[in-house]
Amino acid sequence: MALIQISEPGQATKPHERKLAAGIDLGTTNSLVASVKSGQAVILPDIDGQELLPSIVHYAKDGVKKIGYEATPFQINDPLNTISSVKRYMGRSLSDIKAKESPLHYEFVETESSVPRIKTNAGEVSAIEVSAEILNELKIRAEHSLGDELTGAVITVPAYFDDAQRQATKDAAKLAGINVLRLLNEPTAAAVAYGLDKGSDGVIAVYDLGGGTFDISILRLTKGVFEVLATAGDTALGGDDFDQAIANWIKQELNLTENTDKSFLRQLISVACKAKQTLTTEQVTKIDIDDNGSQLTIELTREQLNDIIDPLIKKTMMPCRRALRDAQVELEEVSAVVMVGGSTRVLRVRDKVAEYFEKEPMVDLNPDTVVAIGAAIQADVLVGNKPDDELLLLDVVPLSLGLETMGDLVEKIIPRNTTIPVARAQEFTTYKDGQTAMSMHVVQGERELVSDCRSLARFSLKGIPPLVAGSARIRVTFEVDADGLLHVSAKEETTGVESGIEVKPSYGLTDSEIEKMLIDSMEHAEEDVAARMLHEQQVEANRVLEALAAALEDDGDMLSAEERAAIDAAAENLSKVNLNGDDREIKNAMEDLDKVAEVFVSRRMDSNIKKAMAGHNVNEFDG
């Protein structure tokens, strides 16, 4: 259908073709779902009218799961089985988590898998599964509110998320049965929500301080195209750290540093958070604490709060400077500063941002909902509900991607802030006579030493023809798709042999692990999974056939008689198999059709490129 989307201006979609799409903000503290209804992006509330879904899941002994507000009360009574702020664990190894969190909030188990698991009453769960529960709850809410199945959803991630964290988010969506239209960076989503309201071209800085992450993005908006120029941030800095800092202050002031009881610590965090919120409107607040039955009270003034959190706010200014430099934009060129994330409600944060950018930041939109709203607007465009819309988001790779070379050094293949999608290839050669295998290590980060970067995957190339050292030519291609996800492939050039690659993700899930989780998550295990896979293949097959029919009608004349006959035959076969075949057979028939139709699809795209340029030359002096 995408080929139909390239339509002449003025050609509106027919009402019955309207597809249901949602934007999901999977947040550290709260999550939300939004959708475009009658041309307006709105947050979809639950049946009680609540917009926010606290990102909390409680696992009870009997296996019953409670999600959101229903899970909140268990945070104090049953902290080990009530998982919150799980986004901080996404795509992270146990050692990463231990380095950041002390003491650990949950009981983690060491596993063979690279994905850490948390011990709960209802068994062990990974961060991906906890996130999938939250996503599933939002999906149910959306389908209930919109009255039908979702075609797909845009899910937002912090711009500074690395490949492992993005992959984990996509895996969670897969587990929740959501068709992911795009992983969208949160600041970009916010800019979309603001940009469309204001309709003004220029350079925008988006300052996004959420519960657990900080992002700064510099974007250029030109006639509906959002070009991300640079992004920087800190994936482990947010409002939670403010709460922790306030809690530490309370402990110091009241001499409570000895008490390490988990429920008590949770209580401290909770009163700290409340005090922080109160101080956005009040000058001073009273904090009450129950220390093993004895009631303690302490006062906190706004000035004291400022002193406590200033070092944390200062930590956000460094990334701001780096983002501006990478974007090659001067401070004066920034025409608007957009504030996103609940933590930008803190007045001190607003003041410091205004001071740095030398202009008042925009706070008109609700910082809690603005990301979901932007995601919903993009989702609506992505499913093809607005064929004439000019909205286009050009995002970037947040952290450089590279390969380990000799001596613990990193060779950067794709530097940070490169516009995606991007494909870069690099040639390598063997260093020993007769060498037939080569191992490679994919890393992400800015540092020069491998040990300072994040390990993404290791793979080995096998079946290299035995040649004299230095004469084999192995071409390794890094491709980052529009979701910001990396795909690596390799080929031996002298023989043309596509070398066997085994990619072992360092922190992600293998396909079989995902499949197992899917099976575990369903009551009637295998039949359900099989039914779901069959359904997915049938939907895809229909999509292929519809798109092909439309393309043939428009541009059938691009094909020779033989080419046309081959395509028709393959299409007919797919229609037949799609009626009574199993998922494997449908998949095979689709692959056959893919092969014969590739030339046609490619030719159509090239022809559209030429048309775009031709049309452009005519209109060059219009704008």
Partner: protein
């Protein structure tokens, strides 16, 4: 492990060179506003966002073509990469690692700049000293780009050896530039 960079373009079935893709004649001097307008028009047509709900095959092709256009845009937008691309279009392989004989005058200037850079941090007013270096780099750079334009605006008659030499000089300046910026970051951090 040894390696060399190769262009990602070959995997995409676009026969045009980057200039043709953007309907431009091969020339070092290009109009950047027009280039980015054309870039946006092209991405509006092929970007994966236009194929988000399309069959897998179309998604795949769209990613490849959008990546090709992104690469082409980046090369044409950046003066160093644009110059290098023009030289290579004339069939001359530009070698990063080569060590060509440079004008003594240029080398002297480089040595002086390098010396001032190494003294920045110990001086009385590091920021002012650094600003002076950065401004000198900017001037030299503008002059170099002007020389490159003279050569490469008409590639068929260009002196490619001379152009390659200018490119190497540009690399020197770039290296100094990034070292200066690193020192600037250090200075800012210590504030």
């Amino acid at each position: 492990m040894t390696s060399s960079t190769v262009s990602s373009a070959e995997s995409v079935n676009l026969t045009q060179n980057y200039f043709e893709l953007f309907s431009l004649k091969v020339s070092f001097t290009i109009e950047l506003t027009g280039l980015s307008e054309k870039f946006r028009a092209l991405q509006q047509t092929v970007h994966p966002d236009r194929f988000a709900n399309a069959p897998e095959q179309e998604k795949r092709l769209s990613v490849q073509k959008a990546a090709f256009i992104n690469e082409a845009y980046q090369v044409l937008k950046t003066p160093q990469r644009r110059a290098r691309y023009i030289i290579e279009l004339q069939g001359v392989k530009f070698d990063d690692q080569a060590n060509p004989v440079m004008e003594p005058q240029f080398l002297m200037q480089q040595m002086e700049l390098r010396e001032s850079l190494s003294e920045v941090k110990s001086g009385d007013d590091p920021q002012a000293a650094l600003d002076k270096i950065l401004s000198e780099l900017k001037t030299s750079r503008a002059a170099l780009l002007k020389d490159l334009a003279e050569q490469l605006d008409n590639p068929t008659t260009a002196d490619l050896d001379k152009s390659s030499l200018l490119m190497h000089e540009l690399q020197f300046l770039d290296k100094l530039q990034s070292e200066s910026e690193a020192i600037e970051e250090e200075l800012m951090d210590s504030l």
